[in-house]
C-alpha cells in the first residue's frame, strides 16, 4: 500500500468551490503575480492576492476585504495588507455612508510588517469555509486571521519560501517558522523547507554563506549558531517576559485585534496566549470605539450558508498533545485520603496527554467508572476486596457446571466454545498473550465466560475479547480486570445488541457529523452509495482496536474514556481519519468495495497523535451543532432512562440517616405527610434489621434498617444533613436497594463542592442546598 500523505491537507480545488459562493461582484481579479510588478520606491511586489479578508469582530457580517502583498525592499521582505478603498470596488463594498469612518478603519486594520519581525505563520485549512493564515510576530502578538477568499495560501507560502528562511514546525506541519535559526543542525534536514536544500547541506553554518534575504539574520554577526535572536520557542517564562517588554509597544490596532482574537480562545496554543488571556480584561477595559461594519447584502447572503461553521473557525486548531500524566502529577490530583479533588481537571489532563503506563492500572479504574472519583484510598481498597469476592461468586456459577450438566446445557457450551475460539485469536503476538498454554489467555477466557454469566442477556459477542485484552494486560488482576470490563460494557454493551441498534445509531450519527464537518466527502459518499458507513463498522465496534498497535490503543482508549470534550469523541476520530484520506477516497473514485478494503488496510498506518488533534479540532468546530447531531442514548452514552416509574410519588416514605438526618428528615416527612424511615447505627433498632457495612475514613461502620420498613418497588429519596465523601450515603443506597426499593435521589443540606451541580452517587443524583468549603 502506498504510504498516505499525512501533511498536506490543503487542496486548492476545495476552495474553488468556496469562492464560487461569493457573488461575482465581490470577486476581484484574483490572479497572483509572483514577480515583475515594480513600485516607484524601488521595491518589488513579489506576490499579491486580492480578496484577502479579515473578520474583525467574530461576527460574519463584519468583514473587511483587501489586498495582501509581499514586497521586496532591498534585503527586507514586507508583508502588507491594505483594505480596499470604497472606490476600488466601484461600489462601497462596506456599504457605509461615512467615508471618514471608512478611512479610520482602513488605517486601523492596515498591516505592514517586515518578515524579520514575524515568528511564525500558521496555515489553516478548515473543512468548511476558507483557508486562512495567522501571522504571529516575534513579540508574541498576532494579526487577525487573514482569509483567502480566492484561495492561494499555498502559493503564498511557496513565495515566502523563495525569499525568507522558513521551516515547518516539527510539532505542527501547518506552522511555518520564520527566521527560526535555533539549532538548525538538530532539525532533520528533511523538515527544512528551503529552496536550495542542497546548498544548505553543504554550507557551513560558521560563516554567512547561506544566503537569505534576511537582514535580521545578516546582522546577527553572521553566524547562525551564534544568532542572538531570542529563542522564543517552548519557553513560557521567556515569552511572558518578552510580551511584557513589548507591551508598551502594543499599538491600538494590536490591542483591538489581539483582544478579539483571544476573547474566545481556548488559551492553549502558545504560552503567550495564556498570558494574554489573563490580561485580556485589562486590554478590553480600554473602551474601543465600536466599529460598525457592514457588508453588501449580496455578500452576507452568499456566505450565510456556512456562517455557523465558519464563525468558530478562526480560533480553533488541534491542541499540541501533552506528555502523559506522570506519577508526581497524579498524586497532586489527590487529597490526603486519596480522593480525586478535581475530576474534571484530571479528565482534561488525560484527554490531552494520556497517562504514564505504570499509572494506567490506577487511573483507568476511575476513567472507566469502577472507582468513584471521590472515593478514598481505604474505600477503594475495601471495594476491590469486596468485588474480588463478588467476582469469585459469579465465576463459580459456571465453574460448578459438571460435564454431564454441560451436555444438557447447549447455550453454555456454545458460549464457551465461542469464547474458547476467540481468546486464542486475540492479541497473540503481544508478549503478554504469546505462546502455547499461556496463562493469561486462560484468564481472558475465564473473565469473558464469567461476564457472560454476569450479564447473561448480552452474553458473549465477538469483539469483546478485543476490548478486554488491553484491560487485563493493564490490570494484571483478574477481578479488577473483570470489573473494569463490566464498567466499559456499561457504555459499549449496546455495540453488541442483537439487533445491532447501537451500531446503527452510531453509524448514523457519524454520517451526520461528516455531513457537518466534511461536506464534500459526504457528497462523494452519497454519490458512491456508501452512506451506510459500514466501512467504519470495525472502527466503532471495538474502538479502533484493530487499527492501532497495542500500546497505541491504550493511549487512544484512555483519551476516549475521559469523555472530556465529548462522549462521542470516537466518532470525531472517525471523521478526522476519513477527512485525512478524503483526497484519496474522492480522487481515486473509490466504490464501496474499494473503500472498505482501503479502510481495512489503513490498519497500522494511521497516525494516532495527528488523528487525535484533528479530532479535537473537529470536535471544537462541530461544537454544539455537532453534539446536537448525536441523538441521546447513542453509545457510549448511557441509555436514556425509559424507566418512567422512577420518580418519588408524594406518598412514598422518606428514609433519613442517623444522626443529623433525623433533624431534617422528620419535619419534611411531616410536611409531606409521609412515613419517615430511620436508617440507624448498629444495634439501635429493635427487632429484625437488614444492615449494610461500609468504610469510614477511620475504620468500618454499619447502617441498619427495619425489615419491612420499605416495600419492594417503592421509590424514595434519602435525607441527610451533610455529604462529604458520600460513603454513608452510598451505603444507604445499597441498603435500600437490597430491601427491594429504589432510591431515586438524595438530598443533603450541606455538601462539599464536588457534590454541586447534581453529582451522582451510585448513579443517583445528589442534591445539595449549601455548598461548603472545608
Amino acid at each position: 500500500m502506498q504510504e498516505p500523505e499525512f501533511h498536506d491537507l490543503s487542496d486548492d480545488s476545495d476552495y474553488a468551490a468556496a469562492s464560487q459562493h461569493q457573488s461575482s461582484k465581490t470577486i476581484m481579479r484574483s490572479d497572483s503575480v509572483k514577480s515583475g510588478v515594480s513600485e516607484p520606491s524601488g521595491s518589488e511586489i513579489v506576490f499579491y492576492k486580492d480578496n484577502v479578508t479579515i473578520h474583525p469582530k467574530q461576527y460574519t457580517s463584519d468583514r473587511i476585504s483587501g489586498r495582501l502583498r509581499l514586497i521586496k525592499q532591498s534585503s527586507d521582505l514586507l508583508l502588507s495588507w491594505v483594505p480596499y478603498k470604497p472606490s476600488e470596488l466601484g461600489t462601497d463594498c462596506l456599504g457605509r455612508s461615512d467615508p471618514e469612518a471608512a478611512d479610520k478603519d482602513r488605517n486601523l486594520y492596515t498591516i505592514k510588517a517586515s518578515l524579520s519581525d514575524v515568528r511564525s505563520i500558521r496555515r489553516h485549512t478548515p473543512p468548511l469555509g476558507w483557508q486562512y493564515i495567522i501571522v504571529v510576530l516575534s513579540s508574541g502578538l498576532a494579526y487577525p486571521p487573514l482569509y483567502f477568499y480566492s484561495g492561494g495560501v499555498r502559493e503564498f507560502i511557496t513565495t515566502l519560501k523563495q525569499h525568507v528562511f522558513i521551516i515547518r514546525s516539527s510539532e505542527d506541519p501547518n506552522v511555518f517558522l520564520v527566521n527560526d535559526f535555533q539549532d538548525p543542525l538538530q532539525k532533520s534536514l528533511s523538515s527544512l523547507e528551503l529552496p536550495g536544500l542542497a546548498s544548505l547541506k553543504s554550507a557551513s553554518f560558521k560563516n554567512s554563506t547561506v544566503s537569505m534575504d534576511n537582514s535580521d539574520y545578516d546582522q546577527a554577526n553572521g553566524s547562525v549558531q551564534n544568532s542572538s535572536r531570542p529563542s522564543n520557542k517552548n519557553k513560557q517564562g521567556d515569552l511572558s517576559m518578552q510580551v511584557l517588554e513589548k507591551f508598551s509597544l502594543v499599538t491600538r490596532f494590536a490591542r483591538e485585534t489581539t483582544s478579539s482574537l483571544f476573547r474566545e480562545n481556548h488559551g492553549n496554543q502558545y504560552p503567550y496566549e495564556k498570558f494574554l488571556e489573563k490580561h485580556k480584561s485589562a486590554l478590553n477595559n480600554k473602551e474601543e470605539s465600536k466599529l460598525e461594519l457592514d457588508v453588501t447584502s449580496q455578500e452576507s447572503s452568499s456566505v450565510a450558508s456556512d456562517v455557523s461553521e465558519f464563525d468558530r473557525l478562526p480560533l480553533v486548531w488541534g491542541k499540541q498533545r501533552e506528555s502523559p500524566l506522570s506519577v508526581e502529577e497524579w498524586t497532586s490530583f489527590l487529597d490526603n485520603d486519596g480522593r480525586v479533588m478535581d475530576s474534571k481537571a484530571l479528565r482534561k489532563r488525560v484527554f490531552y496527554g494520556g497517562v504514564e503506563p505504570e499509572l494506567r492500572k490506577e487511573v483507568w479504574k476511575f476513567l472507566l467508572g469502577f472507582y468513584e472519583y471521590h472515593s478514598t484510598y481505604a474505600e477503594r481498597e475495601f471495594l476491590s476486596y469486596e468485588k474480588e469476592h463478588e467476582y469469585q461468586t459469579v465465576k463459580k456459577q459456571w465453574q460448578s457446571i459438571s460435564s454431564t450438566q454441560a451436555k444438557r446445557f447447549t447455550k453454555y457450551r456454545e458460549r464457551k466454545g465461542l469464547i474458547d475460539k476467540d481468546v486464542v485469536r486475540t492479541d497473540r503476538s503481544v508478549p503478554y498473550y504469546e505462546g502455547d498454554d499461556n496463562r493469561n489467555v486462560v484468564i481472558l477466557r475465564d473473565i469473558l465466560l464469567t461476564y457472560s454469566f454476569f450479564n447473561f442477556d448480552l452474553g458473549y459477542c465477538q469483539g469483546m475479547s478485543d476490548l478486554l485484552s488491553p484491560i487485563l494486560y493493564v490490570m494484571e488482576n483478574e477481578s479488577d480486570a473483570f470489573w473494569c470490563f463490566v464498567s466499559l460494557m456499561e457504555r459499549l454493551g449496546p455495540n453488541f445488541n442483537r439487533d445491532q441498534s447501537g451500531m446503527h445509531s452510531q453509524l448514523l450519527a457519524l454520517s451526520k457529523l461528516v455531513e457537518l464537518l466534511d461536506g464534500p466527502l459526504q457528497n462523494y459518499l452519497k454519490q458512491a452509495d456508501c452512506l451506510n458507513y459500514f466501512f467504519c463498522f470495525r472502527w466503532i465496534l471495538i474502538q479502533f482496536k484493530r487499527e492501532f498497535e497495542f500500546d497505541e490503543i491504550m493511549r487512544l482508549w484512555e483519551v476516549l474514556w475521559t469523555h472530556y470534550l465529548s462522549e462521542h469523541f470516537h466518532l470525531y476520530m472517525c471523521v478526522a481519519i476519513l477527512k485525512r484520506y478524503r483526497g484519496r477516497i474522492i480522487g481515486e473514485q473509490m466504490d464501496f468495495d474499494t473503500l472498505l478494503k482501503f479502510i481495512n488496510e489503513l490498519s497500522g498506518h494511521i497516525d494516532l497523535e495527528q488523528s487525535l488533534r484533528d479530532a479535537e479540532a473537529l470536535c471544537v468546530i462541530g461544537g454544539e451543532n455537532g453534539a446536537a447531531l448525536i441523538p441521546p442514548g447513542t453509545p457510549p452514552s448511557l441509555p436514556i432512562e425509559t424507566d418512567a416509574g422512577l420518580y418519588v410519588l408524594d406518598d412514598e416514605p422518606l428514609p433519613g440517616i442517623e444522626a443529623r438526618g433525623f433533624i431534617f428528615g422528620p419535619p419534611i416527612a411531616l410536611a409531606l405527610d409521609v412515613k419517615f424511615v430511620p436508617l440507624r447505627k448498629p444495634k439501635k433498632l429493635p427487632g429484625e434489621v437488614i444492615s449494610e457495612k461500609y468504610m469510614l475514613q477511620y475504620g468500618k461502620d454499619r447502617l441498619e434498617m427495619h425489615v419491612g420498613a420499605l416495600e419492594a418497588h417503592e421509590h424514595v429519596m434519602i435525607i441527610d444533613d451533610f455529604v462529604a465523601t458520600g460513603g454513608t450515603l452510598s451505603a444507604a443506597i445499597s441498603l435500600i436497594k437490597r430491601a427491594g426499593a429504589e432510591v431515586v435521589e438524595c438530598a443533603c443540606l450541606l455538601g462539599l463542592p464536588k457534590f454541586k451541580d447534581s453529582c451522582k452517587l451510585n448513579g443517583k443524583p445528589v442534591h445539595v442546598l449549601v455548598e461548603c468549603l472545608m
Binding site: 466454545g417 476467540d422 485469536r425 497473540r428 503476538s429 465477538q462 465496534l541 471495538i542 472498505l596
Partner: protein
Amino acid sequence: MASRRRMLLKVIILGDSGVGKTSLMNQYVNKKFSNQYKATIGADFLTKEVQIDDRLFTLQIWDTAGQERFQSLGVAFYRGADCCVLVYDVNVMKSFDHLNNWREEFLIQASPSDPENFPFVVLGNKIDVDGGNGRVVSEKKARAWCASKGNIPYFETSAKEGFNVEAAFECIAKNALKNEPEEEIYMPDTIDVAGGGRQARSAAGCEC
C-alpha cells in the same frame, strides 16, 4: 471499466464463527495458514487472479464475521455475489445444522435474480483435527444434505494442511462464472451498453 468489471467474480464465504472461513481464504490466496488470524469483525475481501478456460478473471473473495449477531450487516456485502460458499466444521455439529440458516439468510439478503439456481458450494473444514477422530458430521450426511439442496458441490478440506483447498476454490470460481450470462463473457468489449454489465445481466438472464 465496464469490461474490467465483468471479469470480476464475487464470492461470499459464510458459516459459523470459527469454522475456518478466514483460514480457508488465506490458504487459497496466500498459500499459508496461521494460528493467529483474528476473529473477523465486519467484513473484508481478498482477490486472486484465476484462469478458467484460457480466460483470466479476478476472484473477489469476501470473508464475513460468523457470529449471527452481525448478520444484519450482510445486505451491504452480499450484493452482486456470483457464488456463495457455505463452510462448516466437521467436528462441530451445530455448525453443520446452521448451514441451512446461512443459505436461506443469504438468499433473502442477496436476493439473486434466480434463487433456485444460484450457485452454492459447501466445504466441510478441519478434517485434519485429531486425525479425523473428533469428527461428528459424516461425509455421507453432508453429501445427502447437498444433494437435497439441488446438488450443491461438496468438498472436505483442511485449511491448516492446505488439503483440497485449491480444488474447492477452482470449483467455486467455475460456478461463479456459470452465474455470469454468456454473451458478456464471449463478447467482452463489443457490447458495452451504457449502464454497465450488471444490469444488462439480470435483464439478459441466461441460464447455464
